[in-house]
């Protein structure tokens, strides 16, 4: 008499933190969640992209009811918003967690794949091949292994119930390429954070020719613009804009160099870029006591004067004198909106105007005058000399310690993609059985609904058949009919 007893395994209820951690972990590992996150990111990127276009306005014009939403859309800086930062963070964490989670399985498939398979798998595979030979199974399996190895396949085998199970694969290490690819995505984000945290960026660093400007950002450096030049082709199109600068510390020159658009100047970890240029005015301003309040060049351009909004202009506060100075140059394109030009300045002339600044200003009304280059004039208590016209250059200055991370990430990203796509892991399973007159081997690829893998397998079968000289046939199951087991057999011609 046989006694059977069912012993129920004692299960302890899991603690709440364990349940929470498990669920969070599974959320980050979920491919469905990752796809939704990428889709949300794509939608946010689309919203941010369209924000820089006229598309939202067109929608508002067609559907006036949407106007408030469209206004909100234009006002929303998507790429600096919390949802955008949130989804990026979520994706970065998901990539990290998912990668860690997949690592053991991938390594298992590479190092210790399961060798045994079933006749059902081989019979129902979309493509399979049958080889027959009049030799014992062990000898036939050995021949198959040799043929597969000659095509660069790794072959593993084990005996089960009198049958020999085969597992062969090629380019198994390509499965690891997913790690550098996903690591690269995290590194790019990390590079952005490193650059924003420990680097700096000056988008509009104005320097007139001959002037020195402090760089700031804790560098202790000054920059002098020695020369700015524009080179034009014969047809009048711009060939190059070039700035020659000297980097200084404590008033002493350290390094000089030139930059043009596309050819920045690197000084240590600081890079100078040519960004723009314009007209400047060299001025000397003294107060009634003869004290020099300003003796430098003032860039014209960032400021618009109501007297001629088209013309280059500048504004500067002279705090010690209690006035604000405006300078307006002649219109560079008199044909454009001439009705706006109330000044009608000629070449070599500029309008200088001072306005009251603060409660203790010595003047109560604006005072202005047109001055020719080289002339001096009295404006209120101030003596102003229009020394000469000059050029100014606009530089971009950046220090980004995240760049090496970005470069390394780029290499990993492209390399990871290339290995994943162009060296796919190809796998074949098989069983060699004994028959009345020798052995029968049935092989099939792991290639469900993978047309390329099936084609590679079919090529492999032809090559194996050629090497073995054994009788063989290729069995193709059409996916739709595989459930019924019907298929078609093809006898390859070797």
């Amino acid at each position: 008499m046989t006694h059977a007893s069912v012993q129920q395994r004692a299960t302890q209820p899991r603690a709440l933190p364990e349940i929470v951690v498990d669920r969070v972990w599974r959320f980050f590992c979920s491919v469905r969640a990752a796809v939704v996150e990428i889709a949300i990111l794509a939608v946010l990127v689309l919203a941010g992209t369209l924000r820089g276009s006229s598309v939202p306005q067109s929608i508002a014009d067609i559907l006036p009811i949407t106007a408030p939403v469209i206004d909100g859309w234009y006002a929303w800086d998507v790429f600096r918003s919390l949802p955008f930062a949130g989804i990026l963070t979520l994706l970065a964490v998901a990539i990290a967690v998912c990668t860690i989670n997949r690592a053991p399985g991938i390594w298992q498939a590479i190092a210790h794949p399961s060798v045994s398979t079933t006749h059902g798998f081989l019979r129902n595979a979309e493509t399979s091949a049958v080889f027959a030979a009049r030799i014992p199974p062990h000898a036939f399996a050995g021949q198959l292994e040799t043929a597969l190895r000659s095509k660069s396949y790794r072959v593993l085998s084990e005996e089960r119930n009198g049958e020999i199970h085969l597992y062969a694969d090629r380019w198994r290490f390509s499965r690891l390429a997913t790690f550098p690819f996903h690591l690269a995505l995290i590194m790019i984000l990390a590079g952005g954070i490193v650059g924003a945290t420990w680097g700096f960026r000056e988008n509009e660093f104005y320097i007139p020719e001959g002037s020195v400007r402090e760089l700031g950002h804790g560098t202790g450096l000054d920059v002098r613009l020695d020369d700015f030049s524009e080179v034009y082709r014969e047809d009048g199109t711009a060939l190059a804009y070039r700035s020659d600068i000297t980097v200084m510390r404590d008033g002493q020159p350290i390094e000089s160099g030139s930059m043009t658009v596309n050819n920045p100047l690197t000084f240590g970890n600081i890079v100078f870029y040519q960004s723009g240029f314009g007209q400047a005015v060299a001025l000397k301003i003294e107060d009634s006591a003869g004290q020099v309040l300003f003796d430098d060049a003032l860039p014209l351009g960032p400021f618009q004067s109501k007297l001629n909004p088209d013309a280059p202009a500048a504004r500067m506060d002279l705090l010690p004198a209690g006035v604000a100075l405006s300078v307006v140059a002649p219109d560079e394109d008199p044909a454009n909106a001439p009705q706006l030009d109330t000044l009608q300045l000629r070449l070599g002339e500029m309008l200088f105007m001072i306005r009251p600044l603060g409660g203790e200003s010595p003047i109560t009304e604006p005072v202005g005058a047109t001055v020719r280059q080289g002339d001096s004039i009295k404006l209120g208590d101030l003596s102003l000399t229009f020394v000469r016209e000059r050029r100014f250059s606009v530089l971009q200055v950046a220090s980004n310690p995240g760049i090496p991370l970005f470069i390394a990430a780029s290499v990993l990203l492209v390399g990871g993609l290339a290995v994943t796509f162009y060296f796919p892991h190809r796998r074949v399973r098989g069983i060699v059985s004994t028959t009345n007159d020798g052995s029968l081997a049935r092989l099939a690829p792991i290639a469900r609904r993978d047309w390329s893998a099936r084609r590679v397998f079919e090529g492999l079968v032809i090559e194996i058949g050629r090497q073995l000289g054994a009788s063989s046939e290729l069995h193709i199951n059409e996916p739709a009919s595989s459930a019924t087991g019907s298929g078609q057999s093809v006898r390859p011609s070797f």
Partner: protein
């Protein structure tokens, strides 16, 4: 130089004619031909009943071969057009929408013909070649002054980076066009079971293979664009609309690849993602018309 530019345009005109003829042949080959059968039956009353039956049959193979030949002619003429323009300008024509589109037409033709050869699928041409013809029509509609070869503005004066960055973009768009065509044909083949269309599995694989070329190429576009941006503008990412549109496109193809490799999506669902992704490609391609931003000089 002017004669080379004119010669280049004449070659483009010849390529357009070849592509139009090729597209017509590919369409005829893919759709098949309608055969009308007439059956006469004599009745016991002495009258004759005539029955008409229309059926769709595969087009002759010859028309498919002729389509391929014409497509190769188109590619040869377009290659000559690009060569003459390169000689005229001393650089590859990639600096404005006219030049970009001319090079795209060439690459789309070449990429399609290579896929046709690898997979032996001619019916795909019924989608790709009309796209190419559409692009030719767009080029014809562009302002005539864009046909002149102009010197590069300072911002574009980085020939190695411009050549590789823009060429990669064109390669990516061309392969995505082939993937789109495969997706459309897949949906048709899957829906109507047309006997002479390629098997849905093959089309599904073809679309995937095209994306495995286009996706890394698009990644290279983003990376090289970032490297160039760093050299020219001082930052490798500016959130410029054209940049972000390219990123958007890349993300959609990323969704396609992830759903395919990790969730095992195949067939109709994958094909629909490819259609959406190609809409993103079109949006990125013609985005210059609605975007401002730092790529504005690359517009018309």
């Amino acid at each position: 130089m002017e004669s080379l530019v004119r010669l280049s345009f004449y070659c483009f005109a010849a390529a357009t004619i070849a592509f139009v003829a090729s597209a017509a042949c590919y369409l005829a080959y893919a759709i098949g031909r309608v055969r009308l059968r007439q059956t006469a039956l004599a009745t016991s009353a002495g009258t004759t009943l005539v029955a008409h039956e229309a059926s769709l049959e595969p087009a002759p193979l010859g028309i498919g071969r002729f389509a391929t030949l014409l497509a190769w002619f188109g590619v040869a003429f377009q290659a000559a057009s690009i060569l003459f323009r390169t000689l005229a300008g001393g650089r590859l024509p990639l600096s404005n929408m006219y030049e970009f589109s001319c090079t795209f037409v060439l690459l789309a033709g070449v990429v399609y013909l290579l896929f046709e050869r690898w997979y032996g699928v001619r019916q795909l041409g019924a989608i790709v070649l009309p796209l190419v013809v559409g692009m030719c029509a767009y080029i014809w509609l562009l302002p005539a002054d864009l046909r002149e070869v102009n010197a590069l503005i300072p911002a574009l004066q980085n020939r190695p980076l411009m050549t590789v960055h823009v060429s990669m973009a064109i390669l990516a768009y061309a392969t995505f066009a082939v993937a789109f065509a495969a997706a459309v044909l897949f949906l048709v083949a899957n829906r109507w079971q047309v006997a002479w269309l390629p098997s849905p599995d093959l089309l599904d694989d073809l679309g995937y293979r095209a994306v495995t070329i286009g996706f890394p190429a698009m990644a290279m576009v983003l990376i090289l664009g970032s490297v160039w941006a760093y050299r020219a503008w001082g930052t490798y990412w500016q959130w410029d609309p054209k940049e972000t549109a390219a990123l958007f496109t890349w993300l959609i193809y990323g969704v396609y690849l992830h759903t395919r490799s990790l969730r095992g999506w195949r067939g109709s669902r994958s094909a629909v993602i490819l259609l959406v992704a190609f809409a993103a490609v079109v949006f990125t391609y013609f985005g210059n018309y609605v975007f401002g931003g730092l790529h504005a000089y690359g517009g018309v």
